[in-house]
Symmetry: C2
Subunit: 130 residues, 2 copies
Protein backbone atom coordinates (compact mmCIF):
# COMPACT_ATOMS: atom_id res chain seq x y z
CA UNK A 1 0.00 0.00 0.00
CA UNK A 2 1.78 3.03 -1.34
CA UNK A 3 1.49 6.11 0.80
CA UNK A 4 0.69 9.20 -1.24
CA UNK A 5 2.71 12.28 -0.38
CA UNK A 6 1.66 15.81 -1.13
CA UNK A 7 4.79 17.65 -2.08
CA UNK A 8 5.08 21.29 -3.11
CA UNK A 9 5.96 20.32 -6.66
CA UNK A 10 2.96 18.03 -6.92
CA UNK A 11 0.57 20.64 -5.54
CA UNK A 12 1.98 23.24 -7.92
CA UNK A 13 1.66 21.01 -10.97
CA UNK A 14 -1.91 20.10 -10.07
CA UNK A 15 -2.85 23.74 -9.51
CA UNK A 16 -1.38 24.74 -12.86
CA UNK A 17 -3.42 22.06 -14.60
CA UNK A 18 -6.57 22.98 -12.70
CA UNK A 19 -6.33 26.71 -13.38
CA UNK A 20 -5.64 26.35 -17.09
CA UNK A 21 -8.67 26.38 -19.34
CA UNK A 22 -7.20 23.93 -21.83
CA UNK A 23 -5.28 20.68 -21.54
CA UNK A 24 -1.53 21.09 -21.18
CA UNK A 25 1.54 19.23 -22.33
CA UNK A 26 4.45 18.38 -20.04
CA UNK A 27 6.48 21.07 -21.82
CA UNK A 28 3.88 23.76 -21.08
CA UNK A 29 3.49 22.65 -17.49
CA UNK A 30 7.24 22.58 -16.88
CA UNK A 31 7.54 26.09 -18.32
CA UNK A 32 5.12 27.27 -15.62
CA UNK A 33 6.59 25.61 -12.52
CA UNK A 34 9.43 28.15 -12.40
CA UNK A 35 12.17 25.60 -11.80
CA UNK A 36 10.84 24.48 -8.46
CA UNK A 37 11.65 20.99 -9.71
CA UNK A 38 13.33 19.03 -12.47
CA UNK A 39 11.52 18.23 -15.71
CA UNK A 40 11.78 14.51 -14.94
CA UNK A 41 9.93 15.18 -11.70
CA UNK A 42 7.12 16.78 -13.67
CA UNK A 43 6.82 13.62 -15.75
CA UNK A 44 6.68 11.50 -12.62
CA UNK A 45 4.16 13.78 -10.91
CA UNK A 46 1.91 13.62 -13.98
CA UNK A 47 2.16 9.85 -13.92
CA UNK A 48 1.08 9.79 -10.27
CA UNK A 49 -1.76 12.27 -10.76
CA UNK A 50 -3.12 10.12 -13.58
CA UNK A 51 -2.93 7.02 -11.39
CA UNK A 52 -4.74 8.89 -8.60
CA UNK A 53 -7.42 9.86 -11.15
CA UNK A 54 -6.97 13.57 -10.46
CA UNK A 55 -6.05 14.31 -14.05
CA UNK A 56 -6.55 12.51 -17.32
CA UNK A 57 -4.26 12.02 -20.25
CA UNK A 58 -5.23 12.77 -23.84
CA UNK A 59 -3.09 12.52 -26.91
CA UNK A 60 -3.43 15.43 -29.30
CA UNK A 61 -3.77 14.77 -33.03
CA UNK A 62 -0.08 15.61 -33.52
CA UNK A 63 1.00 12.96 -31.02
CA UNK A 64 1.76 15.18 -28.04
CA UNK A 65 0.37 13.93 -24.74
CA UNK A 66 -1.75 16.45 -22.87
CA UNK A 67 -3.18 16.50 -19.38
CA UNK A 68 -6.41 17.98 -18.04
CA UNK A 69 -8.11 17.92 -14.65
CA UNK A 70 -10.90 15.42 -13.99
CA UNK A 71 -13.43 18.10 -13.09
CA UNK A 72 -16.41 17.07 -15.12
CA UNK A 73 -16.64 13.68 -13.49
CA UNK A 74 -19.30 14.46 -10.90
CA UNK A 75 -21.33 11.41 -11.83
CA UNK A 76 -19.15 8.71 -10.37
CA UNK A 77 -20.03 6.12 -12.97
CA UNK A 78 -17.65 7.79 -15.37
CA UNK A 79 -14.54 5.83 -14.62
CA UNK A 80 -13.13 6.54 -18.03
CA UNK A 81 -12.88 10.11 -19.15
CA UNK A 82 -14.58 9.47 -22.41
CA UNK A 83 -15.72 12.98 -23.13
CA UNK A 84 -14.97 14.76 -26.35
CA UNK A 85 -11.79 16.75 -26.90
CA UNK A 86 -11.41 19.60 -29.35
CA UNK A 87 -8.03 20.15 -30.96
CA UNK A 88 -7.57 23.58 -32.55
CA UNK A 89 -5.45 23.48 -35.69
CA UNK A 90 -4.57 27.14 -35.28
CA UNK A 91 -3.57 27.61 -31.64
CA UNK A 92 -2.91 23.88 -31.08
CA UNK A 93 -4.83 23.99 -27.81
CA UNK A 94 -6.74 20.93 -26.70
CA UNK A 95 -10.01 21.57 -24.89
CA UNK A 96 -12.27 19.22 -22.94
CA UNK A 97 -15.87 19.43 -24.15
CA UNK A 98 -18.83 18.19 -22.12
CA UNK A 99 -19.63 14.51 -22.33
CA UNK A 100 -20.78 13.23 -25.66
CA UNK A 101 -22.40 9.88 -25.37
CA UNK A 102 -21.80 7.98 -28.53
CA UNK A 103 -23.04 4.73 -29.89
CA UNK A 104 -20.18 2.50 -30.93
CA UNK A 105 -20.45 -0.25 -33.47
CA UNK A 106 -17.48 -2.46 -32.70
CA UNK A 107 -17.30 -6.20 -33.44
CA UNK A 108 -18.08 -8.19 -30.30
CA UNK A 109 -14.68 -9.91 -30.30
CA UNK A 110 -13.05 -6.63 -29.36
CA UNK A 111 -12.98 -5.87 -25.63
CA UNK A 112 -13.49 -2.15 -25.19
CA UNK A 113 -11.76 -0.27 -22.37
CA UNK A 114 -11.65 3.44 -23.16
CA UNK A 115 -13.06 5.70 -25.84
CA UNK A 116 -11.06 8.59 -27.23
CA UNK A 117 -13.03 11.08 -29.28
CA UNK A 118 -11.13 14.07 -30.57
CA UNK A 119 -12.41 16.60 -33.04
CA UNK A 120 -10.04 18.91 -34.86
CA UNK A 121 -10.95 22.28 -36.28
CA UNK A 122 -10.88 25.93 -35.26
CA UNK A 123 -11.72 27.00 -31.73
CA UNK A 124 -13.90 30.05 -30.89
CA UNK A 125 -10.86 32.15 -29.96
CA UNK A 126 -9.13 31.57 -33.26
CA UNK A 127 -12.31 32.15 -35.25
CA UNK A 128 -12.75 35.63 -33.76
CA UNK A 129 -9.19 36.75 -34.48
CA UNK A 130 -8.17 35.11 -37.77
Amino acid sequence: MAIIRNTIAKKTVFEIIQLNKTAMSQTEIFAMVNNICDRVTVYRILERLVKEMKIHKIVNVNGVINYAPCNSCEHEQHLHHDHLHFSCTTCKKLTCIADNHIELNIPSNYQVAEVFLTVSGICPNCLIIP
Copy 2:
Protein backbone atom coordinates in the same frame (compact mmCIF):
# COMPACT_ATOMS: atom_id res chain seq x y z
CA MET B 1 2.00 21.48 -60.80
CA ALA B 2 4.07 18.93 -58.94
CA ILE B 3 4.85 15.82 -60.93
CA ILE B 4 4.39 12.65 -58.91
CA ARG B 5 7.13 10.06 -59.33
CA ASN B 6 6.75 6.40 -58.62
CA THR B 7 10.04 5.29 -57.16
CA ILE B 8 10.92 1.80 -55.97
CA ALA B 9 11.04 2.97 -52.37
CA LYS B 10 7.62 4.56 -52.63
CA LYS B 11 6.06 1.49 -54.23
CA THR B 12 7.61 -0.73 -51.57
CA VAL B 13 6.39 1.41 -48.68
CA PHE B 14 2.89 1.55 -50.10
CA GLU B 15 2.81 -2.21 -50.62
CA ILE B 16 3.96 -2.85 -47.07
CA ILE B 17 1.17 -0.64 -45.74
CA GLN B 18 -1.42 -2.23 -47.99
CA LEU B 19 -0.50 -5.82 -47.13
CA ASN B 20 -0.43 -5.27 -43.38
CA LYS B 21 -3.66 -5.93 -41.56
CA THR B 22 -3.12 -3.19 -38.99
CA ALA B 23 -1.90 0.38 -39.15
CA MET B 24 1.88 0.77 -39.00
CA SER B 25 4.28 3.26 -37.52
CA GLN B 26 7.25 4.67 -39.44
CA THR B 27 9.53 2.48 -37.29
CA GLU B 28 7.68 -0.69 -38.27
CA ILE B 29 7.57 0.26 -41.93
CA PHE B 30 11.27 1.12 -42.01
CA ALA B 31 12.09 -2.23 -40.41
CA MET B 32 10.39 -3.91 -43.35
CA VAL B 33 11.91 -2.00 -46.28
CA ASN B 34 15.21 -3.88 -45.90
CA ASN B 35 17.41 -0.81 -46.21
CA ILE B 36 16.39 -0.05 -49.75
CA CYS B 37 16.26 3.54 -48.57
CA ASP B 38 17.08 5.85 -45.68
CA ARG B 39 14.68 6.27 -42.77
CA VAL B 40 14.25 9.95 -43.63
CA THR B 41 13.08 8.88 -47.07
CA VAL B 42 10.39 6.72 -45.44
CA TYR B 43 9.15 9.76 -43.53
CA ARG B 44 9.04 11.79 -46.74
CA ILE B 45 7.31 9.02 -48.69
CA LEU B 46 4.67 8.72 -45.97
CA GLU B 47 4.12 12.46 -46.14
CA ARG B 48 3.59 12.24 -49.88
CA LEU B 49 1.28 9.23 -49.70
CA VAL B 50 -0.88 11.07 -47.17
CA LYS B 51 -1.03 14.12 -49.43
CA GLU B 52 -1.99 11.87 -52.37
CA MET B 53 -4.74 10.38 -50.18
CA LYS B 54 -3.44 6.86 -50.65
CA ILE B 55 -2.91 6.37 -46.93
CA HIS B 56 -4.23 8.05 -43.83
CA LYS B 57 -2.53 9.06 -40.65
CA ILE B 58 -3.79 8.14 -37.19
CA VAL B 59 -2.18 8.93 -33.88
CA ASN B 60 -2.20 6.03 -31.43
CA VAL B 61 -3.16 6.62 -27.81
CA ASN B 62 0.52 6.60 -26.84
CA GLY B 63 1.33 9.41 -29.26
CA VAL B 64 2.93 7.39 -32.03
CA ILE B 65 1.75 8.25 -35.54
CA ASN B 66 0.47 5.28 -37.54
CA TYR B 67 -0.42 4.89 -41.19
CA ALA B 68 -3.05 2.75 -42.89
CA PRO B 69 -4.26 2.43 -46.48
CA CYS B 70 -7.38 4.27 -47.61
CA ASN B 71 -9.13 1.14 -48.76
CA SER B 72 -12.52 1.54 -47.20
CA CYS B 73 -13.16 4.85 -48.89
CA GLU B 74 -15.16 3.58 -51.85
CA HIS B 75 -17.87 6.14 -51.28
CA GLU B 76 -16.08 9.24 -52.46
CA GLN B 77 -17.89 11.60 -50.11
CA HIS B 78 -15.59 10.49 -47.31
CA LEU B 79 -12.92 13.08 -47.65
CA HIS B 80 -11.89 12.65 -44.06
CA HIS B 81 -11.10 9.19 -42.86
CA ASP B 82 -13.31 9.46 -39.86
CA HIS B 83 -13.79 5.79 -39.20
CA LEU B 84 -13.11 4.19 -35.84
CA HIS B 85 -9.68 2.92 -34.83
CA PHE B 86 -9.06 0.24 -32.25
CA SER B 87 -5.88 0.42 -30.19
CA CYS B 88 -4.92 -2.81 -28.45
CA THR B 89 -3.32 -2.24 -25.06
CA THR B 90 -1.62 -5.64 -25.22
CA CYS B 91 -0.06 -5.89 -28.69
CA LYS B 92 -0.17 -2.11 -29.29
CA LYS B 93 -1.57 -2.67 -32.75
CA LEU B 94 -3.91 -0.09 -34.22
CA THR B 95 -6.69 -1.42 -36.42
CA CYS B 96 -9.12 0.39 -38.71
CA ILE B 97 -12.71 -0.57 -37.99
CA ALA B 98 -15.57 0.05 -40.41
CA ASP B 99 -17.17 3.46 -40.41
CA ASN B 100 -18.99 4.43 -37.28
CA HIS B 101 -21.27 7.33 -37.82
CA ILE B 102 -21.54 9.28 -34.64
CA GLU B 103 -23.63 12.19 -33.51
CA LEU B 104 -21.50 14.99 -32.16
CA ASN B 105 -22.70 17.57 -29.70
CA ILE B 106 -20.22 20.39 -30.06
CA PRO B 107 -20.97 24.05 -29.25
CA SER B 108 -21.72 25.95 -32.46
CA ASN B 109 -18.82 28.36 -32.00
CA TYR B 110 -16.39 25.54 -32.74
CA GLN B 111 -15.68 24.92 -36.42
CA VAL B 112 -15.29 21.19 -36.94
CA ALA B 113 -12.86 19.79 -39.50
CA GLU B 114 -12.04 16.17 -38.70
CA VAL B 115 -13.25 13.57 -36.23
CA PHE B 116 -10.85 11.14 -34.59
CA LEU B 117 -12.44 8.23 -32.78
CA THR B 118 -10.12 5.69 -31.18
CA VAL B 119 -11.16 2.96 -28.83
CA SER B 120 -8.62 1.23 -26.63
CA GLY B 121 -8.97 -2.26 -25.23
CA ILE B 122 -7.99 -5.81 -26.10
CA CYS B 123 -8.09 -7.07 -29.67
CA PRO B 124 -9.43 -10.53 -30.68
CA ASN B 125 -5.92 -11.91 -31.13
CA CYS B 126 -4.83 -10.95 -27.65
CA LEU B 127 -8.05 -12.21 -26.09
CA ILE B 128 -7.51 -15.71 -27.48
CA ILE B 129 -3.93 -16.01 -26.27
CA PRO B 130 -3.78 -14.17 -22.95
